[in-house]
Amino acid sequence: MKSLPRAERSYIRRRNAADRLWRFFRFLILFGLGFIILYPLLYMISCTFRDRSDMTDPTVLWIPRHPTLSVLKDTIEAMDFWNALRNTLVINVGCSFMQVASCALTGYGFARFSFRGKKLLFGIVILMMLVPTQIISLPLFFQFRFFGIKGVFSRNLIDSVWTMYLPAMTANGIRSGLMILIFRQFFRGLPRELEDAAYIDGCGPFMTFVRVMIPNAIPAFLTVFLFSIVWYWNDYYVSTMFFHNTRTVSTMLYNLDSELSLRMFGDATIKMSPREQIVWKQASCLLSITPLLILYTFLQKYFTEGIERSGLVG
């Protein structure tokens, strides 16, 4: 260090100072913005375990004075949580499994094969991303209401799981256009030699996909799988459209207002003031995202470390 000329030493000192300053600011920025993100979650947790009287107590900001589990128990009952959770697992998580599989197949077809009309068909995939679900949801509703061939047979599929399963199985579920696109980009990035080698070893195109491509695409699958579960889990629009008696976690949360009034006053139409509901609302939010959070902690390393391998990069 001493042997360096003076100008160089001062340069290094200046750079170190700038580095330290930047590190300090980076910490400030990340901490502040991280707080914005974590704030509602912390607030949820704080609300869930406090007594209702603590809400009006101005001295209680974060740590409840009367910690209690009764709010949590009430909310579980009001949401019919275990039932809703089972429905969600059967319908939404089932759908996301099917959707990942069907979208992977379609994406692979678009990425690795050339056939006539491919450009036009891929244009339809792009269109699927652009068209809001709201445009097609109503005709879709009637289609499921009178499902079948006109004059031959007709069945009412509303309120049955098939309204969600059928589109998911055929790569037409929630945000499927985006998922097909992600898979296509990913499979296009895999080397062609893999395919040729598999062909020489006697694999047909389908076995190549199952035996060679899928094992190479595990990170991409996990990423898309997490997205798919999240989108299906959070969906209430399609679910409320097609289910009237079956309740999922998201639809329960969406209709919590009337459910709460029903339980407290015996009348669903009474409007409660937002302040009164807030503990239950926060508790129900916490309940409904907890499974996602658990899943996220297991899968987050695929996001945070190796996104470049996950197929999100074209």
Binding site: Y43, M129, T133, Q134, I136, F227, W233, L253, S288
Partner: protein, 310 residues
Amino acid sequence: MKAEITKKQRRRPRSSYEKRKARYGYGFISLWLVGTLLFFLIPLVKSMIYSFSSVSIEPGNLKVEWAGLSNYRHAVSKDPQYTDLLEETLIETLWKTPLILIFSLFIAVVLNQKFRGRTLSRAIFFLPVIIATGPVYEIISGDIKSTGNTGAAQFSTMFRTDLVGDLMQFLGVYGMSGRITNFITAVADNVFGIVWSSGIQILLFLAALQNIPSSAREAAQLEGATSWEYFWKITLPCVSPFILANLIFTVIDSFTNPMNKVMRRIMTFQNEDMNYGLAAAMAWIYFAVVLIAVGILSAVISRFIYYENE
């Protein structure tokens, strides 16, 4: 040798490997093809027809009567809220999108640096990805039926005071036009919304940044480039394709969100008033506006994009 092969191909054109592969291609997409026809294209056409008709439910069936352009006329000129909401949503999207893009690029650059706690910070910044699409977000952002002092409402009161104005006065900037101050205040008020809706954008930008070879950074350092220059000369051109992708994603995401005001208006016609024709017409007008917006934006942006492989 070559002639021999083509001769063989001519003799048995159907079973050549490429042809078989093409057939397999159809095989791979066949599931999707059936599904798209049933659950996307047919409903799309039907909804188009509904928008030109008056639709009513009769027991056991649906009655569709041709009504020409009357639904469209009603949506544009007679409905008291529709055009206002449309304009509001459009303007909000137009100023929010650039902010989201700039913010998420900045955060992605920061999260791409090496420091302690990087994994934790990334995990936190991606959290909105798993929450922000659902009803939970509506509740915590205080958007739904004004939920009182939920997270965001309470949070943004921190900014609601005239901090920006005070700061400007302190700095001696008096003559600033009200519009700019309004804009800054609006941004400050919406910090919550912007941070919460940039999860996927950060994810995509980070992926793009990780794709820049480390040799680029070394070369730039050897040439004596500062981090500032590095950002403008190397980082930005490299991620520019992703700026377009993110732009389109952001615009579509905010337009097709069921929490969006226009969508809610359309849904009230569909679910409460049972005026399906009108709802369909409104949805189609909206879709056309979205398409035009996306088209213009991507045409403008794509002129500034740098592709490495071309």
